[in-house]
Symmetry: C2
Subunit: 387 residues, 2 copies
């Protein structure tokens, strides 16, 4: 197996930056202020699991002209120093008197005039990752400059993946495919679901995942109640549907899909439910190309899996995917985003069975000029059987 | 091995809630608005890895009187329904017109008067996890009620752990101890560091971790450059110091400590550096009891490891630990928090060697009435040798 190259060429980061700057001009923004992991990583390549620690804020300023400026805790200086960013300003965090706000204020004042409008992410799926008290302090210090919404600039750019990004997602999906193929090694009647979860994560790592940020799943007779629960210690039973849904990472890029298994011969309801899921996925895949909008995918899936239009708890039937487990757009009827080459999506239909039980299936695809390509291995209509 | 019980009794959640409500009265707050994973879980027990998805906001309102109200996406209704919370209000998220703001507004208006002051986390280590545009909409809708800081109420409560919380952290630390003892199985000259990382995570899972949210580390001749980097594919070499630092989770509680290993016989500088780290840890452990303040721990550690008072990039020499990899307080000279029984801390000294190389050691302890107890297995002064 040939691994994709880790990291990206500096030219890719430069291109992301100049594209953002072109949009900033169009939107009348003087700078972008980035505060979250994927935003920082998108422009700088700063990849670390240290974001798991909530202690320290991290900032990158993208000015309307010129290279980004990193304003970060000193503990990150060594790692950021290996990126293409050369203007790295650090403070010894945590500092209870001033945890980087003064340094950030200086950087923002340096690259903007008093009329400056500084964009931060403010739309759905976003948050500003810094203490609210510090953000209010920053706003006061910046006046008459204003902190405003970023017109979804970073989000718009990130929605279209480069070939190198797609190669990483495809590699991650391949790892998960191989791990799913090995589920018969670890799952049988009598094994606690929590042990299946632990061992499935081991399989993902063994197959080459860097880490496994996400695993959810469930097991139940004739289906399951939700798709976000952690494992219980309940042993698997003959007649259970076992679902595992993983978001594993390779070089900072996620796959996100699930597989369903049946312990023993499945009931007719499960057989038919699973076949409907596969039919809906295939139908959405078929029309997933430039010319269609996201809502079209929703419609074709719901027509097959939910012709009565019942309210489904998941709220959507797929979403974007890349540096995060879930990204925009959401496959819902409200979403009129046109499909474009380079968009990576999950198709994630669900069906409701009896007694509040559901089945959910998920595949990962990339949109190309002439149609979509699967990044995960599309499944057969027949649910996989264990034991 | 006897596992601690998963979850907590309802009485523990009720106690957390009534304690918060007593502080709310003292601070003149009408309600708390919770938006982040540990805040929600602390009061409700809502444990899921689904927070990895940034798509949906999640809210819990703790009124000054009465039980908490969950205002959450419908995808979480089934799981939240298994908690002690009975007032669960859901919407089908994502909703591009109103992603829960209207529902949240109703709940907050219901439990507060027009003079109401609604507290959100606003201090260091916090952020408000919802889109900024929605937060501004919420503030406008709530007027004349005000959104203000939460006077660190949840943070103050979480700093003192219950016996059941401590049992979970101790169990997590035991898992990591056993995984570290098995590092000789996976690390030797010629093995790429990335493979060591993958296999170390497998060892953590094999020893009983639910998942491994955090692993950082490094390998280098005579020390390493930082403690937050992901692994490279560089093979280990004779003469390397290998450091692995893990935050693994059991039932939602973290341990957080590292171990250093030397490939072959260590140099005098490494031997002495490691011995200093152990000496500093032991000295801090010795004085870690009620009567001391956090700054005292900083002083005793720095006196041993950094008598010249050089600026250290890590910025602190330990921190709180529990539902998150790192929690308050920070062991820095500014921190005057009195040590109290039930506080769980990491002691994390570092020493600077030649050429910008550092060594870092970390242990986990809990403060008791008569002194501290180790939750991780304290290490000998001699660095562990591989091969």
């Amino acid at each position: 197996m040939i691994l994709p190259q880790r990291g990206f060429k500096t030219s890719e980061y430069r291109q992301r930056t100049t594209r953002a700057q072109a949009l900033m001009v169009a939107e009348g923004l003087s700078a972008l202020l980035l505060t979250t992991e994927p935003e920082l990583r998108y422009y700088t390549g700063f990849l670390t699991r240290f974001w798991e620690s909530p202690t320290r804020p991290w900032f990158v300023v993208v000015p309307a002209q010129g290279d980004p400026i990193a304003v970060i805790p000193s503990i990150g200086a060594h790692l950021m120093g290996q990126s293409w960013i050369t203007d790295i300003r650090t403070w010894q965090a945590p500092d209870y008197d001033d945890d980087g706000v003064g340094l950030l204020l200086d950087a923002l004042q340096e690259v903007t005039t008093q009329e400056g409008r500084i964009g931060v992410s403010d739309q759905l799926e976003s948050h500003v990752r810094m203490p609210r008290a510090d953000l209010l302090r920053l706003e006061a210090g910046l006046a008459p400059r204003q902190i405003v919404g970023d017109a979804a600039i970073t989000r718009r750019l990130r929605m279209i993946k480069s070939d190198d990004e797609i190669a990483k997602i495809k590699h991650a999906a391949g790892i998960a495919d191989r791990a799913f193929d090995r589920v018969p090694e670890i799952a049988k009647a009598g094994v606690p679901l929590s042990q299946v979860f632990r061992q499935f994560q081991m399989l993902c790592l063994d197959e080459g995942a860097d880490w496994v940020p996400y695993l959810a799943g469930a097991a139940g007779q004739g289906g399951y109640g939700d798709v976000i629960s952690p494992a219980t210690d309940q042993p698997l039973q003959h007649g259970d549907v076992l679902m595992l849904d993983t978001g594993l990472v390779w070089d900072g890029y996620f796959c996100d899909f699930d597989r369903n298994f049946h312990l023993g011969a499945p009931t007719t309801a499960v057989v038919q439910g699973h076949a409907l899921l596969i039919e809906a996925t295939a139908a959405a895949f078929e029309i997933a190309q430039p010319g269609a909008v996201i809502a079209d995918l929703h419609k074709v899936i719901e027509t097959i899996t939910n012709p009565g239009g019942a309210v489904m708890s998941a709220g959507r039937v797929g979403h974007g995917l890349g540096m995060q487990l879930t990204e925009w757009p959401s496959i819902i009827s409200q979403d009129m985003t046109p499909l474009e080459p380079g968009m990576v999506l999950t198709l994630e239909p669900s069906v409701a069975l009896e007694d509040g039980k559901i089945l959910v299936h998920e595949e990962n695809i990339v949109i190309g000029q002439g149609g979509a390509t699967y990044l995960s291995s599309p499944q057969a209509p027949k649910i996989r059987q264990l034991g």
